[in-house]
């Protein structure tokens, strides 16, 4: 991973985008509160984390968030999560967004998503951190 300042700031952007969703999900798990814009925010993350087909790689939607805006970010996400965890996070976020399950199940899904998003945030912070 590169230590150029410009590249390092991309890791920080990834950590911040992950944190934004973690914050909303923590609020939901802890108090059952759905923040305004949560559904749109979850959808953006879902679009960023999955590749439906190769054409999708060039879509604006996938390039909006720091999960997949730059190659270093894609690599960091892939390092932080195993392939099956990538599928899990998309499933869990989709389940929270759909609101189809009962509230406890939605909260459990949200908690599982928090754990995976936190792994991404943590890995991004590790790459961002200036090494002594």
């Amino acid at each position: 991973m590169s230590s150029e300042p410009e590249i390092r700031s991309r890791y920080l952007a990834l950590a911040l985008d992950a944190r934004k969703v973690i914050d909303s999900l923590i609020l939901f798990v802890d108090r059952g509160t759905r923040e305004q814009g949560l559904d749109e925010s979850l959808q953006e993350v879902i679009e960023s984390l999955q590749v439906k087909d190769n054409h999708h790689i060039f879509s604006l939607l996938r390039n909006r968030l720091a999960f997949s805006e730059y190659y270093e970010q894609v690599q960091t996400v892939q390092e932080a999560l195993k392939p099956e965890e990538m599928k899990t996070i998309v499933q869990k976020l989709s389940a929270v967004k759909s609101k189809e399950a009962d509230l406890d199940k939605q909260k459990n899904d949200a908690f599982e998503a928090i754990k995976l998003l936190s792994a991404i945030e943590s890995r991004a912070l590790y790459y961002y951190r200036p090494q002594p």
Binding site: S9, A15, L16
Partner: protein
Amino acid sequence: MALILGVETLQRDAAGLFSFVDSVCKPCYEEARSAQYLEPSKDFFSYVRELGDCTKAYLNRFAADAPSDKRLYYYYRQKLETIRSVWVELHRFVKSAVDADTLSIPYTLVEALTKRLNLLPGFRKTRFAILQFDELNYLQVRVSELKQTADRLKSVIPDVNPFPEDLGLIGIPYSQPASIYLNCLISHEIGHFVFQRSELKKKLLPEIEKNLAKILGAKLKTLPADDLDWSKDRLESWAEEIFCDLFAIWLIGPCYALTYIELFGLTTILDPSETSGFKVTAGSKTFIRSHPADLFRLKQHVRLLQRLEWWGEIERINSHFVDVLRNAIAVSENKLEFPTREKDSGYAHETLRAFLGLAPFVASLIADLTKDSEGKEIDCGLAEYKKLGGLIEKYLRRAVVPSSVFDGKHHWYPNAVAILNASMKFYLESLEKLMNDIEGQNTSLAGHRSRWIQRLESLTGKAIEDHQLLIDETGAVKVGSTFKRADLRSLKSADHE
């Protein structure tokens, strides 16, 4: 006994971060400063202060707002590390901004470039704060990402104000505040601001896909996503760099290309033992993952200079720098390389070929962007250079500041583009003439030459500084895009009346 993790430990950790934020903000408070700063720098300090206040207010209630569900403690706590990282990033920039007081920055040049940028629709209110860095390479002092980081912080700390929309940041090496020629590279950094602010990535993405499809054919649909993500990133990165180069050429003229040659020592490609007169060195033909090859970049510079009709003027300059530009145009694109360990060489080469196809589109973005609100192309500064460049050189030849030049009839006030390019031409082909008129100066001594280069830059900088004052004087007359001095006799007689 092990401490139970909870509100108390969060309070302690938040307090530690509070102190760190406080220490980063400290230099931004008025009372802690004795130096003078321009308004954009003050705006930046003010933004950091507000950001610091919001962050500290948030940290004050961080522990109290902690989730009651114990399972969430760890994930909530990690937020402090993300906030800390943002402030680590800011730490680097705050120090650099504090170091860049008015005595240490080329503010007249930046103001002149900003005024030109302000001609573009959408950039009328743009201003730049200057930051000073330890690195020499201007390409390593990119600071435009800070705005994006700050904007993202808004989504995790409520009540944070967005980064001021029209405020750009420019980094310069600390050792070069007086170097007018090298600081022409600032215009490339302004290009990054324009690229991001105009959201040109949106226009680029479909073109990147199109050009990769042309080269990869049916493979585009079946390649692993990782490969395509990598290629997309390379093309985006190279395209932005080319855009910034071309924008710099539009903004400031050919002196950008000539400065580029100087900074990167590209006259090294010239080799009299070769029939062609030059040798394509490994460094000059090689793309790296973030930047296109130097010779490819110069080739794009020349193409734009030709389109803007600057090229005819440059070809007349008697300098080996111009030979480098001529040779860059002659280099076949087949010679360009992109060695990398990230992907196999065949795929890397296909990525490079896709970029060569994309480059004309990048050039077209400049043409689209540099039009006024009625769709007319905005003057690139050539006309004024053609009109006044020769006169400016005559003044420099006598070591006189060319802020007002007399053509036998009128006193004209040349603008920054004319001054910079005429000065650069003089520097490249006529410095000896100036030195020969001065007793005791030896043109074969690098030290003597260096002294006169600094003198020339000082004359040039002063002329740029004077320009704004002169065109604002009572009765100054605008003729086309050029200003001339008021008719003082008619002003005097008006006073008498």
